[in-house]
Symmetry: C2
Subunit: 366 residues, 2 copies
DNA sequence: AATGCGAACTTAAACGTTTTCTTCTATATT
DNA sequence: AATATAGAAGAAAACGTTTAAGTTCGCATT
């Protein structure tokens, strides 16, 4: 059944103008709905819905006509109504924030998130941040927020995993993937910190170093992995690691690394190479070294972790472990979406993404 | 009216258990709705809605009871239903992406967005990215996407402002705020590039430099502002700027800056100070200088732009203009939300956020 | 001629809210 | 005692969809 108005283009135009006039409330344009399209096309709303969603029980011509009119009228589906009916939002919640509150500014996380976002969008999902505002009167917990928005799934990264609210969220029935932290019953994507640290230490060893210090980050799953891998690798290489070589400084904190580096340099037997919590911190360490009139890597070698992009532009180029943030993000998205779309078949799983040592020139051959 | 079950705690517990059992479908828990709460409390859904939203036409005791039961039942409001009814999503769309596709990875933008996000959350709004996926079959334009999600407002930053889809979005009736780009009829938050560049050049001048070169970024509104401010300031200071001192290299591109720096150094009368498109690029320039065996700032001075955090950890500390990303983001959020909440009163406006020169020690006194 | 069938379309209920009217009851005012 | 008033609650419609379950109707099959 073809709309009579449609045969002449101007006819349709006129009709639409009249329809538009009806749609004006005050001087504000109301959104056009499936109902309006149905009215113009002279069919039921069910038919419009089906035509627009490509169901097969609607005539080819009718379907084409409806699509055309919908387009001309500037029809936009209403995700809220769709969600209400179908219980699917095609929206993923993203929860993150870390001790240092660096949020989006956190280089490592920004890369992971960017990749996650791209992968999710590729599959037709949007992403929304789970509110981290804690001081608001109308405060919701993470779980409440996730439920309120009816996220199809949630990805958790970089958070303070001790936070009871995170626990509450993890214990819920929402599909969840975590990054760099293992919960029981939840799938996780982790950067292979064990292998990363092992490869890094091995590289430094091969460059001839035997006195290797490690300033590790604050206690966390990531730190644990790296630290135990450090010990294990040293053991395998039959390296002696005096307790004084192991120190702690916060992640991404140049000041802390600066201070700790000072302590290491004052030891009777100072190390010949220092490994830092991350590249950021490493720069703090370099500053401490230079402040004492020493040179990197001539007088002492250093290595970071993370492989933040900007570091490639500096001399010395940092030896570091480049984490595969791209894969971390896309694997997380793939896993989460598969969890959503095939709730039965998927079991919790741990996906380990290998990083890669970037040698740079901050570790001297000795 | 007090629920009889409520008097004994165990009684309520039992009742709730029965209700929960009813709510189980298969082995999947259905979300509890206002209706379920109403059923348990023995009141109408209208009363529950009113109690939960703090309307005054519901008894104090009833209200308290309803809230308690709702909480115990794990009731979570459904934003989709709420949106459908009220036409408000309390969700803001964020559109960004730049030529270099650095997305979230873009340091400047990440800081602005982080601040925007915090300010928005403070006011009770969530933020969702506007899909930038261009190669998908079920492709929506930016505008279609914004309409689909019914964002209350949209913030646009860092995008390719020539993109016709951006134009379509900007011409729509959705409340919009742009960052660092002025559209007619749209409110904008801009970093004060004119003043920033002026202050930077003035500082360099005061340090005694008279031969100042400027490697500017690719053509854009931002570049235009900075470049014209550069010329104007030089003119005011009666500095001669040979055409050969003005060069172009992409933003955030160390390679381009490296090459262009080379050209400047080979001039018969090379500059004594070079200004770069941004701090990133500046590091590329420094590399070029060092590659020639020259030293910064002893042999030649340099300055960047942006004030990216990490730069503070390097020697030499870059002279740069620190943009007030925090204020840029929060002003954008405030403006957008005011546009949403007071559609009548607000006129389009341009808010200029001043930056600040950070002197560092990359510009030598001569 | 009666039957069955598939294609094309419609009806109507449902999703979970908000909100405008009503209705009811108890108390205050004349 | 009659009436007005205010407080507390409920009924019902509406928001824009999807979808299961009809309803036509023309046509091929028996």
């Amino acid at each position: 059944m073809i709309c009579t108005y449609c045969s002449s283009a101007s006819g349709l135009g006129e009709l639409l103008n009249r329809v538009y006039a009806d749609l004006m409330v005050g001087d504000f344009a109301k959104m056009v709905s499936i109902k309006d399209v149905a009215g113009v096309c002279g069919v039921s709303i069910a038919t419009v819905s089906k035509a627009l969603n490509g169901h097969r029980d609607v005539g080819k011509e009718t379907s084409a006509h409806i699509r055309q009119v919908a387009k001309q009228m500037g029809y936009a589906p209403n995700s809220a109504a769709k969600t209400l009916k179908t219980n699917r939002t095609y929206n993923l919640g993203v929860l993150f924030s870390d001790e240092s509150q660096s949020g989006l500014t956190h280089d490592y996380f920004a890369h992971v998130l960017d990749s996650f976002k791209n992968a999710a969008e590729e599959r037709g999902y949007d992403i929304t941040f789970i509110n981290s505002c804690r001081n608001r009167s109308c405060r919701m917990s993470y779980l409440e927020h996730a439920r309120y928005r009816r996220f199809d799934g949630v990805v958790i990264a970089c958070v303070d995993f001790e936070d009871p609210e995170v626990g509450e969220l993890v214990r819920s029935d929402i599909p969840i993937v975590t990054i760099d932290h293992l919960f029981n019953n939840r799938s996780t994507i982790v950067s292979d910190n064990v292998k990363g640290m092992k490869d890094l230490v091995s590289y430094i060893y091969e460059m001839g170093h035997r006195k290797i210090a490690y300033i590790h980050g604050a206690d966390s799953a990531v730190t644990q992995s790296r630290l135990s891998s450090f010990y294990k690798t040293c053991e395998e290489l039959k390296l002696n690691v005096p307790a004084s070589y192991i120190r702690e400084a916060p992640y991404r904190n140049t000041q802390g690394a600066y201070t700790e580096t000072g302590h290491l340099l004052e030891l009777k037997k100072p190390p010949t190479c220092i490994i830092y919590p991350d590249d950021f911190a490493c720069f703090g360490g370099i500053a401490a070294i230079q402040a004492r009139g020493l040179k990197v890597p001539d007088d002492i070698s250093v290595a970071g972790y993370d492989g933040i992009g900007i570091a490639k532009n500096f001399e010395p180029k940092l030896a570091t472990v480049i984490q595969d943030t791209k894969r971390l993000g896309s694997e997380a998205a793939d896993k989460l979406i598969s969890l959503i779309e095939h709730p039965k078949t998927t079991i919790t799983e741990q996906i380990i993404v290998a990083g890669e040592v970037f040698q740079g020139n901050s570790v001297k051959q000795i």
